[in-house]
Structure formats: C-alpha cells, structure tokens
C-alpha cells in the first residue's frame, strides 16, 4: 500500500506521463499528470512450434545483406522460447474519457538492413512518427491507411528522416516499401497512451492507468487479435497473459 502512494503522489508531483523508460523522467514534464499509475504488465505466449519465417533474398541489395550475418529472414512471427514479440497490446474498454496528454517525443521507425525496425510500433493520435533510413539506398515509405491520409515518400539516401503525424485512431496502419517487397511494418494509432508492443521476450507493460476494469486487446499481423479483461487495483500492476497459436 505504502509504496503505491509514494509512487502515485510523486508521479502526480512530477506530472509526467507514466514514467516509461527514457521519456519518463522529464519528457512528459511539460504535460499534465496521468490519470493514475496502476499498470498492466503481461506476457504474450505462443503455443506449439512457431511457423518458420520466410527467408529474404537480399542478393540484389548487398548493402543490406551485409547487415544480416546469418541469412536474413522476415520476422513475421518472431517467437523466442514460447514468447511472441511484435504484438500490439492496447486498452480498448473501461477508460475514463480523455483528453490524454500527447508525448512530445516522437515514436520512431528505422529502415535498417532493408527491414523496418521496429516492425510494430504504437503511436498516439497527434504524436509525431519519425521515419529514418539507415541504409545507403533508396527506400520508399508507403502507408496505405483507411482512416488517415495516405502517403508515399522516398528516402534515397542514408540518414534521412521524415516526420508524419496521424490524425485519426487506426488499427493498424500498414507500411510497405515498394522497392523491397518484403518490408512491412504496422503502426497502431491510438487516441490514448495506454498501449504497448510486446518485446522479444513477449513482455509488455501499460502504465499510468487509473484503477478500474479494462478490456485489453492484443493484435498480431498474422495471428489475429485476442482480448482479455483485467482489473487493476489502484495499486498498480495486474498481470495479463495472451496466448496465440497452438
């Protein structure tokens, strides 16, 4: 009990958005306090043996191939001992009304080794999405949303950055690169800050929540979506596990 009040009030004190890693300390300092500081953390598991990811033929893109020492594969379903990465988890029900503070740090996607990194990214409506090119060759970023405005821009040189802002929530905005057909990424555009993407170890954390019962949905590009309900005491971390495959 005690610990919670400590953290809670000092978050209120700091007025920072949920204290997630780098941005936590001061990034949000300019923004208003979070609704709370309960957090939902959990795991995305994958049952059974994962489908093999297709190999990518990068023989015509030596600069990229060089960045993949062991033959490049397309991380569509990336499972490490039963944990599933690149799952977009977000709260879909039970939230008090907004508006929610928009973080000033941009969400980021990099094009590195002819792959989008990360493959799945979450971004808030109105938040900047910074798209960079780390490869010394032409990529074009083609987003074909349904709710937002489509764009198709090129980055012919390494080190280029383009910023885009989505104006409407959309699950998910698909990204392609027409030069490299295998390159895909997905951006989940949400109007609240309560989302996360499962890491390599399948774990995710959604923090800054007020106490309450929430419906949480997990999305995967090929394995579909799942949802679960979870109740968080005002004192933070409830856990939630999603299981795909099997």
């Amino acid at each position: 009990m005690r610990r919670f009040w400590v953290t809670s009030c000092l978050f209120a004190f700091l007025g920072c958005g949920g204290g997630d890693g780098g941005s936590g300390g001061g990034g949000g300092a300019a923004e208003t306090a979070p609704l709370g500081n309960a957090s939902i953390s959990g795991m995305v598991m994958f049952l059974g043996d994962a489908p093999a990811n297709p190999a990518i033929d990068m023989s015509e893109e030596p600069e990229c191939a060089a960045k993949h020492t062991d033959g490049p594969t397309n991380p569509i379903v990336s499972v490490t001992d039963g944990h599933l990465a690149n799952v977009f988890v977000r709260v879909v029900g039970g939230l008090p009304g907004g508006p929610y503070p928009v973080p000033s740090e941009p969400a980021t996607i990099d094009q590195n080794g002819c792959l989008y990194v990360p493959r799945v990214v979450g971004v808030m409506v109105g938040q900047t999405l910074a798209i960079t090119n780390s490869d010394p060759l032409l990529h074009n970023i083609k987003a074909v949303p349904t709710e937002n405005r489509l764009f198709n821009i090129s980055q012919p040189r390494a080190g280029m950055t383009s910023n885009r802002i989505f104006t409407a929530p959309e699950i998910m905005v698909p990204f392609e690169c027409s030069v490299h057909g295998w390159m895909n990424a997905y951006a989940g555009v949400v109007e609240h800050p309560y989302f996360a993407v499962s890491g390599a170890d399948g774990s995710f954390t959604i923090s800054g929540l007020p106490a309450g019962t929430y419906q949480v949905e997990a999305w995967h590009e090929t394995l579909g979506t799942q949802s679960g309900d979870v109740t968080v005491e005002a004192d933070g971390s409830a856990t939630l596990t999603f299981t795909f495959g099997g």
């Binding site: 093999a52 297709p54 190999a55 033929d57 023989s59 015509e60 060759l137 032409l138 074009n140 198709n152 821009i153 090129s154 027409s178 030069v179 490299h180 057909g181």
Partner: protein, 224 residues
C-alpha cells in the same frame, strides 16, 4: 560521340542493328544533302547590292522527284522493318521450345518465377528469385510479364528487348541470348518514385551451368 550501337547479345541484335545502320546511312545522306544544301545556298545566294533574286514559282518535276524518292525509300524501310518486327513481336513468333518464365512486376521489383523440377509453371514447386533472371544461352526463353500495379517496361539493352508490362493484359516477350554473361535489366516506363532504381540482372549460363544452378536453387527452395 558514337553512333555505334553497344554490343548485342541476343539473336535480335543482328537484325535490329542491321536495320538501324541502314536507316543511319539513309538519314545520314539526307542529313548531309539538306544541311550542306542550306549552307551552300546561304553563302552562294546571300544578298548582294543591285542583284535581284530569280523569280521562280516552283518546278513540278523537281517536286515530283523529291516526293517520290523519300516515299519509295521510306516504304522500303517499312517493308524491311515489317519482317523483323513480325519475327520479334509477331503474334506467333514465340518458338515452341522456349523456356517459359513468369515475371511478376511491381513497384519496384522484378520477381522471376521459375519452373520447378517438374518442368511446369504454376505448380507448387515453382520458385521465385527477386531481380535475378537466370537463363541458358542459345535457347529461346519466353517471359510472361504480369504487372501488378502500374505499367512497367522490361528492357534489356544488350538483348535489344523492350516490352511494356501492362496491368490486366497478357503480355509475352521472348528472346534468345547468344553470349554467356551478366546483363542489366531496366524499367523503361516511368512507374513512380523508384523507377530510376528498378534494376535487375540477367545471368546467361551455359546449358550445364544453368541446369546446375536450377537444381541448386530448387533444392534451396525445398528447404524453405
């Protein structure tokens, strides 16, 4: 400055280059005649005080000549071209023994589909190689160009082959490489912001190398 065509590497090169040089010579002559004529007249008949131009309204004979001569030459060129054109692009020009490939063309990639071991296209053992076309030498190949988004154009300068790939149309192009080696494939029709980089390569193998490559590749495809 060179008006010499780069070396060709397919059976078409001979015919096309020959026609090209024929036209080059004919037009060259016409070019010289006209330009020199203009120059000579310009100097010879430049205005001089007290001299008056000769009042000539025309000459039917002359005009008939310089109507007939170009007309005839041009029609001859046309007829010469016609044969070659039919041989290359004509409806039934594709040799029966041509090896079929499917080429799925999209912004901004060439995806070449190869027959698997069963020697049939459109079966499960087909495999796709991106931006690489491997063909045997001295053997006609037939490409079915399947454009998936916009119009692209399959262009191999060394083979003197160019054919638009139009979405929604069944388009086939054939050629027969005559020199082992590696050549570049370009997209010749503006197809978007990556058009300038829509590059692929043709690898012309000797017959046995080709078989070797094919089996390696099929094996690799199996593992995946």
């Amino acid at each position: 400055m060179s008006w010499i065509l780069p070396p060709g590497a397919s059976t078409f090169a001979g015919d096309i280059d020959f026609l090209y040089y024929v036209i080059l010579v004919i037009t060259g002559i016409a070019f010289v005649v006209v330009e020199v004529g203009l120059l000579v007249f310009a100097i010879k008949y430049r205005a001089r005080p007290g001299r008056k131009a000769q009042y000539i309204e025309g000459s039917i004979k002359a005009e008939i000549i310089w109507t007939a001569v170009p007309a005839v030459t041009l029609v001859i060129i046309g007829l010469m071209s016609g044969g070659v054109w039919n041989h290359i692009k004509g409806r039934n020009s594709i040799p029966p023994n041509a090896i079929p490939y499917e080429v799925h063309v999209k912004q901004f990639e060439w995806n070449f589909t190869y027959r698997g071991p069963d020697g049939q296209l459109g079966t499960s053992d087909d495999f796709i190689v991106r931006n690489q076309l491997h063909i045997p030498v001295n053997r006609p190949v037939e490409l079915q160009l399947i454009a998936e988004d916009v119009i692209h154009s399959f262009f191999v300068p060394a083979f003197r082959v160019k054919q638009d790939a139009v979405p929604g149309m069944d388009i086939r192009v054939w050629f027969e490489a005559t020199k082992v080696g590696e050549y570049e494939i370009a997209c010749a029709e503006l197809c978007g912001l990556g058009h300038y980089r829509m590059r692929a390569r043709v690898f012309v193998h000797s017959a046995e190398d080709y078989q070797q490559w094919l089996s390696d590749r099929a094996a690799a495809a199996d593992e995946e």
